[in-house]
Point group: C2
Chain length 262, copies 2
Amino acid sequence: MATGRTHRPATRSRGIPEATVARLPLYLRALTALSERSVPTVSSEELAAAAGVNSAKLRKDFSYLGSYGTRGVGYDVEYLVYQISRELGLTQDWPVVIVGIGNLGAALANYGGFASRGFRVAALIDADPAMAGKPVAGIPVQHTDDLEKIIKDNGVSIGVIATPAGAAQQVCDRLVAAGVTSILNFAPTVLTVPDGVDVRKVDLSIELQILAFHEQRKAGEEAPMETAVGEGALPASAPRGAAADDSADQGPDGDVPAVMPA
Amino acid sequence: MATGRTHRPATRSRGIPEATVARLPLYLRALTALSERSVPTVSSEELAAAAGVNSAKLRKDFSYLGSYGTRGVGYDVEYLVYQISRELGLTQDWPVVIVGIGNLGAALANYGGFASRGFRVAALIDADPAMAGKPVAGIPVQHTDDLEKIIKDNGVSIGVIATPAGAAQQVCDRLVAAGVTSILNFAPTVLTVPDGVDVRKVDLSIELQILAFHEQRKAGEEAPMETAVGEGALPASAPRGAAADDSADQGPDGDVPAVMPA
DNA sequence: CCATCTTTGTGCACGCGTTCACAAAGACAT
DNA sequence: ATGTCTTTGTGAACGCGTGCACAAAGATGG
């Protein structure tokens, strides 16, 4: 998957392990699908298969929430949907602002999945004056100057950053200062935030690079051609300045427009 | 952050821990920035700060690649850029296809970060005949019918799925059958793939839900109002059908158009 | 050539997460 | 009521990842 972690390490929130929290949305999605098909109950085995995990893990995950199953039968779908929704805080409304309405920001604004799960796009914000007032996904874009006022007027606590990397930290600082305590970062930068603020990042480039690593490894294993493709053929005495030809085509990566993480 | 993992669990690729692989792109980005500023060497402390990790972790990560540092001095920036690039397989060209040219697919196609790191958009594919031939980001969209031929002609091994959830598995199967062995999935579904195929997923909705969980917890701690907001006040005898009012507004989540993961 | 200082590389311990395997609990039939 | 069968909930073991703390390595200056 495509997600790096930036939350505090071993912070067991209310006894629920972080790894479990990360899987709850997966279970919820599978359960919602079952609910729509009016399936009354489901076993840990079936649900685990639908969510793509093994059943032991699922049962242990649920055990952190309480004993919601019935032995010999399974779990009540509706009931579990409710419990997980409540646990994730999805029974309440979360106003969200998106900052940086470029290619990606616009795509996010148009994303229908926002509203369906308690998330509501309260405002779109961009630094380009030419964008101001222009409607995107039916919502008029507002200028960065009004960021603080927008946050406070709408009681926003979750912000989405889809700006170029260069602007991300500054936007982040302003969001936090205005009261935002959770940030979803699409910009290819490491954000620095004070304690108590959660940051999660989505980074396309990183995901692709991880895939490339495994892809290279696969290729190297199947066909150990030449001097072993993926292997470090050169010991410690490798050409120290051999990176010259490679660094040339690496443009200003941290300055790409507001499209997608790099 | 916004990334779920779907790779095989404890697969130490060539001795390099998965957690380390996931951080290499972070280091590479920080190093590239230093390289552009013509900084010759960097200490583990400085680089760690730039990448947002602690120095011990960084040094241990690098130790898996080999001894590329100089005690008392630090790491040679150019040399390290080269080594990490090579390790990640970024010294070669990776043709990539994007399937599903909706809002998100188009944003991805326009993403400049692709080309800058060895990734090249070889083709855009969509099921809508009306899209065929229409250029997006300067590349003409091709119809799904030609998927297999496109994959083979271009030697594509990495596919990006940005279709609606309903079409994702089918597209995935076709990609895999055609020879793709790495998939980056933006559709809100669990993909089932044969052994040897890597899947990573990017899921906006999941990330937001995780943030909401923490956000709710924060709110519940600060103000333990009413009957403890995030707490399960109801034991095992909770209202079994209480989910009715909640499941109403949850529309067909798995069927959203090709915009973004739900 | 020796002493000092800086910074790497890593042995070790600890904690989280995963998995196994099974006892306990309940449904269901007789 | 009793027995059988299914499925949950969890104790325990294991493995990976993280962070500490320090010895080893090399640079630098006298």
